[in-house]
Symmetry: C2
Subunit: 258 residues, 2 copies
């Protein structure tokens, strides 16, 4: 007889799989095993939870209660196809992949945390909104109870709505981070530390919690200060890529300003 | 006889002038008057400090100790030309304007706070790095002492270096804020609140305090997930401007990834 009805199998040992495993282990769940196409990654993560590890999704047990597919969007369909049939709740964690991709499982769902994960930084899940979707009422309830172990901010969203949330998250996080990459590059070339920008970056965050983004917009583009913009474009002439981003974003801010 | 050697005149009643006046008033400085080409703006700000207000820089007194020029970059030169001659320390607050623009004043300097200011949000100046530059040793010392009333993070930087700091600040703050504008637009069209992205935006800030920006980069572009990128470009087809930004930033992240 099984000791608990809370066994979880995690497929994918990247950023998301690593963070989910940690959080589930801290709650009342048993990590039954980790599957990763890189057996080294699977073993490394499995070591922490003293559980099994596999490289091939075809050989994972079919009697766990929860399956989290935490692989790249492009690999979700083939992983789902390779997995054994199961009555467990099979979930993927992708913002942009429809629920349908799991249609061969009677109990299927989506568990999409609106967050950016890196292995080296622990995330406080209690604040993270989680978008959920499921194939039937029973799965939705199970999924909701599961998600509530992580966070009180649960958003029911269908596959279309979730795709737009994911798209907006890319602008708000991945692309803003790339702006930091560029700022870092510019400062490093001048032998200046990136840390001089941190109070500014913090302030930009604080402002967006207090007002609509257009109200918070400052800078030469929204002021229409074309002289400074031309100067900056000249300063970037040795990096046509950064120059193109500067030009495009400045033009759009000027064009759309409210 | 003057009651103090700490009289300040502020030219410009916008975001920067408003914040400097507040901070100087809280320290041991007397706001002697506010000058703004809009006399209404000057009067409104002067009201708080029970001081004079002017619309024309030619008529401001010439015997104050400190003059802060807090006008748009394009207007600094003409304001400096219109002002009376003075032995006071005349400073501008611009990231991108050379010190030379104040060459008619024997004691001149630059006081550039690396921060984004909006009138409706109070700034904690103690954390704000301030870039300073001055025409002579005496002015530099005066300026340094003044800046230390605001912050312990004082950076001596010449006009060239300061321009690069300003350029990097535009990427790290103005352009990231524009990414929030776009995310806000996408979510609003789906009747979803922008607030669901705030934990993600906070995490992006926290990560950049802990690791280099490239180490923090996540998302479909850095993973090379071209299927998702194509999907997102389709979703943005009704907004060619946002589509162009998405395409350009994704291409560059893929091209430059480390």
């Amino acid at each position: 007889m099984k000791k608990s009805g809370n066994e979880v199998i995690i497929i994918g040992a990247g950023n998301v799989g690593t963070h989910l495993a940690r959080q589930l282990d801290q709650q009342n769940y048993t990590i039954r095993g980790i599957c990763s196409r890189s057996i080294q990654s699977a073993r490394q993560l499995a070591k922490y939870y003293v559980c099994e590890s596999w490289a091939n999704p075809a050989i994972i047990p079919n009697d766990a209660q929860y399956y989290f597919i935490c692989v790249n969007d492009e690999a979700i369909a083939s992983v789902a196809e390779a997995m054994p049939s199961t009555n467990g709740l099979v979930m993927h964690t992708s913002g942009s992949t429809p629920l349908d991709v799991l249609s061969r499982f009677p109990n299927r769902g989506v568990f999409y945390p609106i967050q950016t994960f890196t292995k080296t930084h622990e995330t406080d899940f209690s604040l993270v909104p989680i978008c959920i979707e499921a194939s039937n009422k029973k799965s939705l309830n199970t999924l909701k109870n599961l998600a509530l172990q992580f966070s009180n901010n649960i958003i029911e969203a269908d596959s279309i709505k979730r795709k737009y949330i994911h798209l907006s998250a890319i602008f708000a996080s991945n692309f803003t981070n790339y702006m930091y990459v560029i700022a870092y590059d510019i400062l490093t070339k001048q032998q200046l530390p990136f840390s001089i920008l941190l109070p500014l970056i913090l302030e930009s965050f604080e402002k967006v919690t207090l007002m609509e983004p257009w109200q918070a917009q400052t800078g030469p583009a929204v002021r229409g200060d074309s002289f400074i913009i031309q100067e900056h474009l000249k300063m970037l002439s040795n990096n046509p890529d950064y120059q193109e981003i500067y030009r495009l974003l400045s033009e759009q801010i000027m064009k759309h300003k409210k």
